[in-house]
């Protein structure tokens, strides 16, 4: 096999077939993909409502502490399904490869995707590959779409938020964005910081089981960070959060100070914001903390009928400030 991606790998000819067989099918192997049909024909789905999502991944660098673009592409889509209350079942994977990409790089990414999908219990059932001229893409872009089932009885969304609801998060914010940013050239930082990229559906399923009917809304705090998620929720209600209660790692705080960033706006790939009825807070927190991905879960604020449409942060000094939507920050590609 060639050692790097050539335009011919996308031509549909011999090289395309070799690539599909020796890289994609070999690592993603499952009954639907191994068929090599034009579409994966799935068995009847379990009862519930169908959830469908898609996302594209263009992170640079492709490999970063704690993960890589492949792991990100699986976790991101699994998490988008999970926060809708769905059990993720199947994924698709589309690759846009830049001519000259080392085959070894692609293989590492595919192996990582396969391992992540296997661990998450989802199958990558169909896919696509295109190759573009050198310079027309940045190494490798991935699109994944996902299908899941929202079990009967589960209904989540910002419209269900009520004054008095508690807001929780499953751990410290800002790890992913900073871990990726610190890898980029020009910022010569040394750090042991790791991306938090992880599939959250197990944690979320445990939460939904533990406090049935009490979880109002879930959102993974990816691009734009915690601040953006909360701003997406406040059309009808207001939100108040406590700065001192929001978990942020020491390294993240320090790097943010240095770079002039606010950790509330930095991306995460393994953090879910949970709105839960006030009476279910303790049960929800203990089930989150019992899960490996929620050990540092914390209660960070509440939904209020005051200042509808605004997210307000209370500082440790007792002052309040509005946390607005992010307005075009010059951040590098992080997801």
């Amino acid at each position: 096999m060639e050692e790097q991606i050539l335009l011919a790998h996308g031509s549909g000819g011999v090289l395309t077939h070799e690539l599909i067989r020796d890289v994609f099918v070999r690592h993603f192997s499952n009954p639907w993909l191994d068929d090599l049909g034009d579409a994966a024909v799935l068995a009847a789905l379990p009862p519930g409502r169908l959830a469908l999502t898609t996302d594209s991944y263009v992170v640079q660098p492709l490999f970063f502490p704690g993960g890589d673009i492949g792991k990100l592409a699986v976790c991101g889509t699994v998490n988008d399904l999970a926060v809708a209350g769905a059990r993720p079942l199947y994924l698709t994977a589309g690759f846009i490869l830049e001519e000259g990409l080392p085959l070894e790089t692609l293989t590492r990414v595919v192996v990582s995707m396969a391992e992540t999908a296997r661990a998450a219990g989802v199958a990558i059932v169909t896919g696509d590959t295109k190759v573009v001229e050198h310079g027309a893409a940045d190494g490798l872009f991935i699109n994944t779409a996902g299908v899941g089932i929202v079990p009967p009885g589960v209904a989540l969304g910002p419209a269900r938020l009520q004054p008095g609801d508690a807001l929780l998060i499953n751990g410290p914010v800002g790890d992913h964005g900073l871990a990726v940013m610190l890898q980029r050239e020009g910022l010569r930082f040394q750090s042991t910081l790791q991306s938090d990229v992880a599939p959250l559906h197990g944690l979320i399923a445990a939460l939904l089981d533990a406090v049935p009917g009490q979880v109002r809304c879930l959102r993974d705090a990816t691009r734009g960070g915690l601040a953006s998620v909360l701003n997406e929720w406040v059309s009808q209600i207001g939100i108040e959060i406590e700065e001192a209660a929001i978990p942020v790692r020491e390294e993240v705080r320090a790097a943010c100070e240095f770079l002039g960033l606010d950790p509330l706006y930095v991306a995460n790939e393994g953090k879910v914001v949970v709105a839960v009825a006030a009476e279910a807070v303790d049960a929800a927190l203990s089930v989150l903390r019992a899960h490996p991905l929620g050990r540092d879960a914390a209660r960070i604020g509440r939904v209020t009928s005051e200042h509808a449409g605004r997210v307000v942060l209370r500082t440790p000094y007792g002052a309040r400030r509005i946390i607005p939507m992010l307005t075009g920050a010059p951040l590098p590609r992080i997801c």
């Binding site: 020009g186 910022l187 001192a244 020491e250 705080r253 320090a254 100070e257 002039g260 605004r310 307000v312 500082t315 440790p316 000094y317 007792g318 002052a319 309040r320 400030r321 509005i322 607005p324 307005t327 075009g328 010059p330």
Partner: protein
């Protein structure tokens, strides 16, 4: 975070605030004690930590001209943009600079039409660009006060040492004390004390502000950038005001010495010559600019690449000049938040991370709303 959390202790901060309010109440007076924080870094910290809300109504904090990007005159910016548009030129500068509107567009717009504008974190990065592109002229657009100028001087000396012929500097550097004088001489705003810039003073020394108590009978407290730094400076100023004993008080002793940083001062003296400079909102201020001295004329981009610029136009309705002179607070500008926002900035104070309008917009919208409501109710 070590060396930071100690200066953010909420309990201690509450004590200092209570003391400040107690002292200010003892003074009485018809209006609040009005202090100017010269430095945009202080404005940002005051907004971010909500100190303005906690100190009101006894203390009023007014932002000053200490944002280098904001005080860059439109004509200077126009010249930089024309230079970036010149064929072959690579123009390197700090990130905030590229989004500041000149008479017709920004450096960012110039990049959109093909100019090679690069954002760097340090002048040494610009030097590296010059090394890698020996065939092309690399111009570093230098903006900043006493704080950033020594780094640029060092980069320039490094270019000399390496005999890099393609590296030059368009120096728009400015000195802070003359602007402070200009504000006090103009008498447009009554000030009771000055929160002195911490990092500027680390270079120039706290003694650079001795003229404030001596000539203007006004106290100055040089401050660091953490909440307790700023609060203790405010506490010291309030005490000086109450006792009627103006002085320069250095509350940032861990970073600032009376004589400043001699090495940095020598670098400045070696590379720059003090001359007049144009400040947005002020016009020309004598002896307030750092131009490259004669010895480095061959690295002076203004001389090497003379470009024609038409007279500058200020954006209509923009009151950045009044904000920079401390005459108004950002919400008093009619464009603030209605037309002008970080997404669509009309003037530079809404662009720069250190700009007063951006700080108010980003962090103080609750206060702003209160302000607007009170304005409506009094018909002001």
């Amino acid at each position: 975070m070590k060396y930071i959390d100690e200066f953010r202790d909420p309990a201690l901060a509450r004590n200092v605030i209570a003391q400040i309010q107690h002292d200010a109440a003892a003074r009485g007076g018809a209006r609040p004690i009005r202090l100017m924080e010269f430095c945009g870094g202080h404005t940002h910290a005051i907004s971010r930590f909500g100190l303005r809300e906690l100190l009101a109504p006894a203390i009023e904090l007014r932002s000053g001209p200490g944002c280098p990007v904001c005080v860059t005159a439109s004509a200077d910016l126009d010249r930089a943009i024309a230079l970036a548009d010149a064929p072959g030129v690579i123009l390197a500068t700090f990130g905030d600079m590229v989004r500041v509107p000149g008479s017709a567009g920004t450096l960012y717009d110039a990049r959109g039409r093909g100019a090679d504008v690069r954002i760097v974190y340090s002048p040494l990065d610009a030097l590296e660009i010059a090394r890698r592109n020996p065939q092309r002229p690399v111009v570093f657009l230098g903006v900043g006060f006493e704080t950033t100028a020594p780094g640029i001087a060092a980069a320039l000396l490094q270019a000399e040492a390496e005999a890099l012929p393609n590296f030059s500097v368009l120096s728009l550097h400015k000195l802070t004390p003359p602007a402070m004088r200009a504000i006090l001489d103009a008498g447009e705003v009554a000030l009771d004390g000055i929160i002195g810039p911490g990092h500027v003073s680390a270079v120039s020394g706290s003694a650079a502000w001795d003229f404030l108590p001596r000539e203007y009978a006004i106290p100055c407290a040089v401050a660091g950038f953490e909440p307790l730094d700023i609060l203790s400076a405010i506490g010291a100023l309030v005490q000086a005001v109450v006792e009627g004993k103006p002085a320069v008080i250095n509350t940032y002793a861990r970073g600032v010495r009376p004589e400043g940083n001699r090495v940095a001062q020598q670098l400045l003296a070696q590379v720059f010559a003090v001359g007049p400079a144009d400040w947005r909102g002020f016009g020309a201020i004598p002896a307030s600019g750092l131009a490259l001295c004669e010895t480095f004329a061959h690295r002076n981009a203004a001389l090497r690449f003379p470009v024609a610029v038409t007279p500058a136009r200020e954006p209509p309705g923009c009151r950045c000049g009044d904000v920079l002179r401390g005459v108004i607070a950002p919400p008093e500008c009619a464009l603030f938040r209605r037309v002008c926002s970080p997404r669509n900035p009309t003037g530079p104070c809404m662009v720069s991370a250190e700009g007063a309008c951006a700080a108010y917009f980003q962090f103080e919208r609750l206060d702003v709303e209160t302000f607007e409501r009170s304005n409506v109710s009094t018909g002001a």
